[in-house]
Amino acid sequence: MWMGPYEPLNMLGLLIQAVFIENFLLANFLGMCTYLACSSKLKVANGLGLAVVFVLTVSGVLNWLVLKFITAPGALSWLSVFGLDASEVNLEFLQFLIFICVIAGFVQVLEIVIEKFVPALYQSLGLYLPLIAVNCAILGAVLFAVTRDYPFIPNLVYVFGSALGWWLAIALIAAIREKLATSNVLTDLRGIGITFMMTGLMAMSFQGFIGIKLAQPSGVVEPVAEAKVTPSKTDLESSKT
């Protein structure tokens, strides 16, 4: 449950993969809207990136718990503590709804906490928090982690790395956009049009990372069949004849 078949070295590989190779913004194209709206200044982009790192890491962990204990098939078996046999109940169809509510709820709580305890931080970050709740990248990273069925630590590393990668991409593009603002661009392409083309070029360059496979688990799985009754030799002989 904690590490599964992944080795500690795989964690480093997973981190590198999440930041560079499968960069959320440039390889998976999630989180574009907020990035386009807010990337004209590097300072703003940095604030947004930092907020995303925090929100994504924590909600990634929270949603892993939701997946493990509520929505995965057979996940509700812990209810047997209360005498309820809920192992057949499959709540997978509620997955999207619960995930997005957890994310939005967490962001709301975070906003309140920051406003109350660290008002200075609220001044710089607080505006972006509602924007982040509906950021495709957050839900996207969570959903990708779900389809890959990571154990706890790889999941944590993956969501953290994805957020870092997102921050990296948005910081890079904000820096370029700041320079582009004073360049002589075609009138029709000015603003959004040229930003897209620049992003396309950056995406192409990040494609150069494809194929570096560091995160493949190679650990040996504890075989399940050992625990069950192994057939005796005579059983096998008789089933053959």
């Binding site: 499968e22 509620l94 009754v229 004849t241």
Partner: protein, 323 residues
């Protein structure tokens, strides 16, 4: 006067609280009702669609396995062996497949029925001995879903499917006998994520009947071509054991697996015997191709003792038939 005012004031405040939509109690009630309604709608939908969803998923896997085993063609009609080793279109009549030359698209029930009839899931251990799920006291559903991702070939008891022939005689006790072929579930790692497929081998344990890669997250148009009929149709007839220069196969030492080469096999291997264990690569998808090659090597290694057994009993049967 003040008494009245206070009473009136208090009453109107609490009334106002309920009708003020920004009050806490109202908000709580609103959210609770909304959540309940949403949950009811979705639960209804999920329970109605539960059966079609399960059927769709099983159907997809079963279909892919049957295509690999040459029981189904890619357009959806059944196939049977015409006795000379060439598959012909067939239709289900009275529970048996009968050759018919017109296209007959099989229905879902027919597909699942024939699947249950013709493909028997079994377990094989590292020494190559076959056993059934019942004899090993393992629940088939649990086993199949638990080890799908990491690969059945890594388990001490590995999953394999026996392709039963059209006409079955009652020698079901003999697990090795009467197999029209075998299907091995393949696991590998492509460029982005795991790839899953089925490799169907003929009863000699060496020749490929067919191959399908049915689940992958590869790049559409590049690596995703492994799921295309066009590429999968290179496989039938290939040999999973590599022949040596004179065309013989030593089952103990020959390299086991199929290599996806860069470019065309005819250019890389020409007419040497290595060409029989190699497949044309896909342009721009070298890494996915490497993943496929590795999948073959890794998975088939675990089944080598079993394949040796199969080939041994096949040769014995052939000798008995000709003598």
């Amino acid at each position: 006067m003040p008494q009245e005012y206070t009473e009136k004031g208090e009453r109107s405040v609490s009334e106002q609280q309920l009708s003020d939509k920004n009050s806490n109690s109202y908000t709580l009630v609103f959210i609770t009702v909304l959540s309940i309604i949403a949950a009811i709608i979705l639960s209804l939908l999920a329970s109605v669609l539960e059966a079609p969803k399960v059927v769709a998923k099983d159907l997809d896997r079963s279909r892919q396995m049957m295509i690999a085993a040459n029981i189904l063609d890619r357009e959806g009609s059944f196939l049977i062996d015409d006795g000379k080793g060439k598959p012909k279109k067939a239709r289900l009549e009275n529970g048996k497949l009968v050759a018919k030359s017109v296209d007959n698209i099989a229905t879902q029930e027919q597909l699942l029925g024939i699947y249950k009839d013709r493909l028997q899931p079994l377990l094989v251990d590292s020494a190559g001995k076959l056993t059934t799920f019942e004899a090993a006291h393992i629940n088939e559903q649990e086993y199949v879903s638990a080890h799908r991702k990491m690969g059945y070939y890594k388990q001490p008891l590995k999953l394999i499917y026996k392709i039963l022939p059209q006409e079955k005689n009652n020698s079901d006790k003999e697990l090795y006998a009467n197999a029209a072929g075998w299907v091995i579930p393949m696991n590998g790692f492509g460029l982005w994520d795991a790839i899953y497929g089925y490799l169907a081998i003929a009863s000699d344990g060496i020749t490929v009947l067919g191959m399908t890669w049915y689940d992958h997250k590869e790049t559409p148009g590049l690596g995703a071509n492994i799921a295309d009929a066009y590429w999968q149709e290179f496989f039938p007839g290939k040999k999973i054991f590599q022949q040596d220069a004179s065309g013989n196969i030593d089952l103990n030492t020959a390299p086991l697996g199929i290599t996806v080469v860069r470019g065309k096999v005819s250019e890389v291997y020409g007419s040497s015997s290595k060409a029989n264990s190699a497949i044309d690569g896909m342009a721009g998808a070298t890494l996915t191709g490497n993943g496929v090659t590795d999948a073959y090597t890794d998975v088939l290694k675990a089944y080598r003792p079993f394949l040796k057994h199969v080939n041994a009993s096949y040769s014995t049967n052939k000798k008995e038939a000709t003598s």
